[in-house]
């Protein structure tokens, strides 16, 4: 009997061993453990809050994450190749921009609108992650910032002036500052190409149909009066001297000095810039600055641009769909994300986010941000959009080589060229 029992035990052990060998992986030695494949850009995957949440997940669940990361320059092409070959990951990390279209998000990724954590997302984060049909494509798990008009509050107070709440007031403010011999807006035209998208965001964020028609080439910039309004406002502001006299020769490195010295009063930038690039030791420090909306002739109450977020998307055809969805739920749990984002300077994507560092400027302007924030639309969702190309078109305008209509035409030409290039890629 003992022998029989021993034989049965041995047989059972052998069976288990064979079964384990048949699973193909060592991790699957534990029948409860599983491995999820996460694919993303190498530099993205190395972000501390991501590595932190990955580690938390593995520790907490005992599951494993197989991280497939590609060099930044090769990411889009390699990922597309893997998708085409049917090697789709369980979890796919990507920004919600035009490049995402090549991965057919509607076909490949789950609509996460019904997940429990959706209500914890801030409005701007939620809006960013939704597609045109309102499907929630992914969980935003990323550091974010708010782009707007950062102004020297201390200086304005000393001049008896206050921030603008409308386009008209902003124009008045610029003119008054100009009369007081300040540079109202620091507009470093040489290399700072991001500003133009702030003016375009309200146009296309407020009217998604325009965006669709533009991307479908049913419309062009020239057919959208608001685009001409923006170009006209920027051109007029430059002519009025609101950008200063040497704005064409100033660039990224000059912004800090211009703002810190008080020579320039306002600029269109994002809050984290003050942590990363604003040089201390100037006449004015970060605490002297405050945030108001960007006014660029396209939104009377101005606008803020929300952060450009990296999303965690779930392969709807994943064999481990539930586990993948559970992974997102794990990440969206306040206890977990607060650990991951502890000490990270970012605007909150989750309402329950408490451990991140959010600038006072953003906090003070929260009400206005909530009222006027737009999802980053132009740079991410206009097919063929290139900040450099738009800047090149404006350079011709600034140098008097073309007028408003010509500038808009050049923007269209560049956009269509880039659209062709992106299509070819």
């Amino acid at each position: 009997m003992k022998k029989r029992i021993l034989c049965l035990l041995l047989l059972a052990a052998l069976t288990l061993c064979l079964a384990a060998c048949g699973g193909g992986t060592q991790e699957s030695a534990d029948p409860e453990q599983l491995t999820l494949t996460v694919m993303g850009r190498k530099s993205d995957m190395e972000k501390s809050y991501l590595t932190s949440i990955f580690q938390l997940y593995e520790t907490a669940t005992g599951n494993k994450l197989r991280l497939l990361s590609y060099e930044d320059a090769e990411f889009e092409a390699e990922a597309a190749k893997q998708f085409a070959a049917g090697n789709q990951p369980d979890i796919f990390l990507h920004f919600h921009n035009a490049d995402l279209n090549r991965f057919s998000p509607a076909e490949n990724f789950c609509d996460l609108s019904g997940e429990s954590w959706v209500s914890d997302l801030t409005e701007s984060a939620l809006a960013y992650c939704q597609d045109r049909e309102g499907r929630l494509l992914g969980l935003p798990f990323w550091e974010s910032s708010v782009s707007g008009c950062y102004y020297n509050k201390t200086l304005l107070d000393s001049l008896g002036l206050r921030p603008a709440s409308t386009q008209a007031e902003f124009d008045m403010l610029c003119q008054v500052l100009k009369e007081l011999n300040y540079t109202p807006i620091c507009w470093p035209a040489d290399g700072c190409t991001w500003m133009f998208q702030f003016g375009l965001d309200p146009i296309f964020a407020d009217d998604p149909a325009l965006l669709e028609q533009l991307n479908a080439n049913e419309l062009s910039y020239a057919d959208i009066p608001a685009v001409a309004d923006m170009v006209n406002w920027i051109g007029s502001a430059a002519k009025a001297g609101w950008f200063g006299s040497d704005y064409l020769d100033t660039g990224w490195d000059d912004v800090s000095t211009a703002l810190g010295s008080g020579q320039a009063v306002m600029t269109f930038i994002w809050d984290t810039w003050f942590y990363t690039d604003f040089a201390a030791g100037n006449q004015y420090g970060m605490e002297d600055f405050a945030l108001m909306p960007v006014f660029m002739g396209t939104a009377d109450s101005g606008s803020y641009e929300g952060g450009n977020l990296n999303m965690m998307m779930v392969n709807k055809n994943s064999a481990q769909l539930d586990a993948a969805l559970d992974f997102l739920a794990f990440c969206a749990t306040p206890e977990n994300y607060n650990v991951a984002f502890d000490g990270i300077s970012t605007v909150s994507c989750f309402k329950g986010q408490t451990t991140n560092i959010q600038s006072q400027m953003v906090t003070d302007a929260q009400a206005s941000i909530s009222e006027n924030e737009r999802v980053s639309t132009a740079a991410t969702k206009i097919v063929g959009y290139s900040a450099e190309d738009v800047a090149a078109a404006f350079d011709e305008l600034f140098r008097g080589r073309t007028d408003t209509a010509g500038c808009v035409q050049r923007m269209d030409e560049y956009r269509l060229q880039d659209e062709v290039l992106q299509g070819a890629a």
């Binding site: 008896g160 008045m172 403010l173 009369e179």
Partner: protein
């Protein structure tokens, strides 16, 4: 002085009137400006006083509204009438236009009539209200960002929809209030604010909102108000004092009016640009000023116009006169050859240029007007025609002159100008006036006079020299003649001395005669009376004659005399044979004369490139190795009476006119003569002359007589080459050798080959075998068939027999010419007898004149006597006629054969020799046509000879009579007559 003052008086008056007008205008303008400002600020105060009152009324009425609401709520049924209360509020809102109504609770909460709680944060308002217990007005920003002004008042405690309240409030959007407070006056440039006493802005009337948070702070930053002014302003605000200040805000002058609203500590502040405040008044001011200016101008015009018209009339008249004078001066100066230029002495600017400067110098007047230095381009031989340094030395009111030569810039013509500069003061400005006078004619006249003077002096000097020379040269032989004549008389008994003296007298006479001939010849050439006797002649014959004449002279001095022909000069040429002969004889005889014994004379004739097909240009070069000439003498060798003085030349007799005559003859013939000479080494005279060519003779005798192969032997290669050259066109194949031996070899070889030379021409004197010996050897081996000729420049009489024996067929003289060669060989190929010797004129018999009877026509008794004696000495006799007429008569009366010859003087009274000859030839006497008539005359020129022959004479003898010449001529003529030949 009075006149001048009268001229400037109108201008002075105008200035004074204008100045007064400006002063009045300025005072008036300042007064008006001040007045306008005061009126404007009053206007501003009035307008904003009304605004302030309106705003106060508006606030007051809102308090009334709130009180009425309070009353209404106090009376209303608390529970049942909440909808009625809401309706009441809506009705009030429709009437008053407020944007919101609020019930305020003690704890700072609020509720709207719609039941919305805490739609606005009115806690601060309620706190203030609770503190003050009076109606208050406050600014508020709603959560939507909308800025409103709240009017709140305490109320009786009540409940609205369960909300306990003790105060009520209404709110108006600041935009609505701004519209109510906005003033359309001042072109919309005014800004109005309701501010707290500390400057905080409650609301603004600016369209589109406001960017001002504290206007006092803003003024500190943007205005030119200093700290004291700002403090005073703040004091006014805090004390509720109204006021108006002027300041500059952002570079624009503003009026700032502040008035206490009357509620709490609010102030109504208005900031208006001064330009907007006074705009209306400024328009009035401008209109007023414009009217005043127009009035002033009209009045001024009425006063000033006559003055101006008068002045302009005078000015126009003056200008016309000036223009007339300038035009007249331009016309006058344009028609004269004097150029007028006036420049400023200080800066050299040109004030006036006469228009004729372009005609006279080729420079446009405008160019001179721009820069007077352009004149320097015309100056010849100087760069600076306006000597600034010298100009400055010209005293005021004085003048200086310079002479310049200018080149016309268009035509290049040079003209002389005298430039006179006057230093003048015109209207107290120093000027230089340049007058350039054309002195070209005067200059040319001076030059001509100078040249004429020089020529006259030269001629006078030449005449003096000539007379001096003549005096010397004539006196010398004359001295000998006279002296020996005296000695002859003294020693008449001594026949030896008589012969000696007679010989010396004759020699001196001949020298004197040649001197006279040369002088006369020279005189005639220089006077232009010499003419050329142009005719066709043979160059070989001329050269042969020269050889005959000069070779004996050279031989006498043991000199070698060689004639070379280079190339193939034409043999027949047209020219003055006599004059060419004279030239060449002069040159050759001089060469012989001035070359020591044993010397060498070379005479080379060559043809140069023909200037035209019908003309040949020949070069005659006479080269000797004689005494040569110094360079100084070479310069005057062609001058009359020039002879180099040396120990050698002093022993040589000469007139010193030979070369001068030669030079003049060469000039006369259109040629050139050159001299190359070195003392002690000899001289070379080269004469180049052009000759017309006669038409070529047709026919080719060489071919006709089957002469096609010629052998020439001459030790001089040049001679061989020349012969080949000259025979080139004859079709004859010429073989040349330079020795007798070679000639023998060639002739024998040809003979053996069966192709003998048709003619063999041998030089006589060759190294080795001479011509005679060579001929002998050729004959020995070749036979007698081939004609052999000897070419020599020597007299062959001594070897003639020896030559015949050697088999030589004929001699021919050097230089070689095809014509003479043909003449020599032609008899060999025809039936004519061979002339072994060139035909020479038969020697005149010694007593040819013996027994002859001459008719002598001579008007000079002495000459007639001499001639009679001379003829007698020859054994002849004569009958004398004293003029031509008598000679004719004597001849007519004479029997046929009575006279053998007539010697006829030319210049005779009654009838000259020419006429007498013509009458004799025409008189019908049996001898009339053939009796020899010879002219005897001192006129020895070519035309004299020609005239004599033309008159029918047969010869010409020059006086004084040379008996040898008489004998020669008479002998030849008589011989011809007796032989029946034609001597003409």
């Amino acid at each position: 002085m009075k006149k001048r003052f009268g001229k400037i008086l109108p201008s002075l008056l105008m200035c004074l009137v204008g100045l007064a007008a400006v002063l009045i205008g300025a005072v008036y303008f300042a007064f008006i400006s001040q007045k306008i400002y005061e009126d404007s600020t009053d206007h501003l105060r009035e307008i904003y006083g009304q605004v302030n009152r309106s705003f106060g009324l508006f606030v007051e009425r809102n308090w009334g509204l709130l009180n009425s609401c309070d009353d209404y709520f106090a009376l209303a049924d608390k529970e049942a009438d909440s909808r009625a209360e809401a309706e009441f509020i809506r009705s009030k809102q429709d009437y008053w236009g407020f944007s919101g109504f609020y019930f305020l609770s003690e704890d700072g909460k609020c509720m709207t009539p719609d039941g919305l709680r805490d739609s606005a944060d009115l806690s601060g308002v309620h706190q203030t209200l609770s503190q003050w217990r009076e109606p208050i007005m406050a600014g508020l920003t709603l959560p939507s960002g909308q800025e409103v002004t709240v009017f709140a008042a305490p109320s009786r405690k009540g409940t609205f929809r369960g909300f306990d309240f003790d105060a009520v409030a209404v709110s108006y959007t600041n935009a609505d209030l701004a519209n109510a407070l906005r003033v359309d006056a001042f072109s919309g440039a005014a800004k109005s604010f309701v501010i707290h006493r500390d400057g905080t802005v409650l609301l603004s009337t600016q369209t589109g909102g406001s960017v001002f948070s504290n206007y006092l702070v803003y003024l500190k930053a943007a205005s030119d108000l200093n700290e004291e002014e700002l403090a005073a302003l703040q004091n006014d605000w805090e004390s509720g004092t109204s006021g108006l200040i002027r300041c500059e805000i952002s570079g624009v002058d503003h009026c700032i009016l502040y008035q206490n609203v009357g509620y709490q500590d609010y102030i109504l502040l208005s900031a208006v640009p001064e330009s907007a405040v006074s705009a209306g008044f400024l328009a009035v001011q401008k209109s007023t000023m414009a009217v005043l200016i127009v009035i002033f101008l009209l009045v001024g015009s009425l006063v000033v116009a006559p003055i101006i018209l008068r002045s302009r009339s005078l000015s126009r008249k003056s200008r016309l006169e000036l223009q007339y004078r300038e035009r007249m001066f331009d016309v006058l100066s344009a028609s004269v050859d004097d150029i007028f230029i006036m420049i400023d002495a200080q800066d050299q600017t040109v004030d006036y240029v006469s228009p004729n400067v372009e005609r006279l110098l080729g420079i446009p007047a405008e160019a001179v007007r721009k820069d007077i230095r352009v004149m320097e381009t015309c100056a010849v031989n100087t760069d600076v025609v306006i000597p600034q340094a010298e100009l400055e030395t010209v005293p005021l009111q004085a003048s200086r002159s310079w002479e310049y030569e200018y080149r016309h810039q268009t035509t290049g013509e040079r003209r002389f100008y005298r430039m006179t500069v006057y230093h003048m003061s015109i209207q107290e400005t120093k000027k230089y006036i340049f007058v350039l006078s054309d002195r070209t004619q005067e200059q040319l006249m001076n030059q001509h006079l100078q040249e004429a003077l020089t020529a006259a002096r030269s001629a006078n000097e030449a005449k003096s020299n000539f007379l001096s020379n003549m005096s010397h040269d004539i006196r010398t032989p004359m001295n000998a003649i006279v002296g020996f004549s005296v000695l002859l008389e003294k020693d008449a008994d001594d026949p030896e001395k008589v012969r000696e003296y007679t010989r010396k007298i004759a020699a001196s006479s001949h020298h004197l005669l040649s001197l006279i001939n040369d002088v006369l010849d020279m005189s005639k050439i220089e006077s232009g009376k010499t003419s050329l006797n142009v005719d066709r002649f043979s160059l070989p014959e001329l050269l042969e004659e020269l050889s005959i004449i000069l070779r004996p002279q050279a031989k006498a001095k043991d000199q070698s005399f060689d004639i070379y022909i280079q190339g193939a000069p034409p043999e027949q040429i047209i020219g003055d044979r006599l004059r060419l002969n004279q030239i060449l004889i002069n040159l050759l005889s001089n060469a012989i004369k001035y070359t020591p014994e044993g010397g060498r004379i070379e005479f080379t004739v060559s043809e140069l490139e023909r200037p035209a097909p019908q003309y040949a240009k020949l070069r005659f070069a006479v080269k000797d190795n004689g005494i040569g000439m110094s360079e100084e003498f070479q310069k005057q060798v062609f001058a009359p009476f020039s002879r180099e003085i040396s120990s050698v030349t002093n022993k040589i007799q000469g007139t010193g006119l030979g070369m001068a005559i030669t030079k003049n003859l060469v000039d006369l013939m259109g040629g050139i003569i050159r001299l190359e000479s070195k003392p002690g080494q000899g001289s070379t005279f080269t004469v180049e002359l052009s000759f017309a060519l006669p038409e070529q003779d047709e026919g080719d005798s060489w071919f006709r007589h089957k002469v096609s192969r010629l052998l020439v032997a001459d030790d001089e290669e040049e001679v061989c080459r020349d012969i080949r050259e000259m025979m080139r066109d004859t079709g004859v194949d010429v073989a040349t050798v330079t020795s007798g031996e070679a000639a023998v070899e060639e002739a024998v070889l040809a003979h053996r080959q069966g192709r003998d030379f048709h003619v063999i021409l041998l030089d006589w004197k060759m190294p080795g075998l001479d011509g005679v010996e060579t001929a002998r050897r050729i004959r020995r081996q070749v036979g007698e068939k081939v004609p052999i000729l000897v070419l020599t420049s020597y007299d062959w009489a001594d070897i003639e027999e020896q030559a015949r024996q050697a088999g030589i067929n004929a001699f021919m003289p050097k230089p070689f010419f095809t014509s003479t060669f043909w003449q020599a060989i032609e008899p060999l190929f025809t039936d004519r007898p061979i002339a072994t010797l060139p035909e020479k004129s038969a020697p005149v018999p010694e007593r040819v004149m013996e027994g002859r009877l001459f008719l002598v026509a001579e008007d000079n008794e002495l000459n007639a006597e001499i001639l009679t004696e001379v003829l007698a000495m020859e054994g002849a006799s004569c009958e004398l006629a004293v003029n031509g007429q008598e000679a004719v008569e004597l001849f007519k009366k004479s029997a046929p054969g009575h006279f053998d010859m007539i010697l006829m003087d030319v210049q005779m009274p009654v009838m000259n020799g020419y006429e007498a000859t013509r009458q004799i030839r025409a008189c019908g006497h049996p001898q009339a046509e053939d009796i020899p008539i010879v002219a005897m005359t001192a006129n020895t020129f070519a035309e004299d000879v020609r005239n004599a022959l033309a008159a029918g004479m047969d010869g010409h003898l020059a006086k004084p009579i040379d008996m040898n010449a008489v004998r020669e001529l008479v002998g030849r003529l008589l011989s011809q007559r007796e032989q029946g030949g034609d001597g003409k």
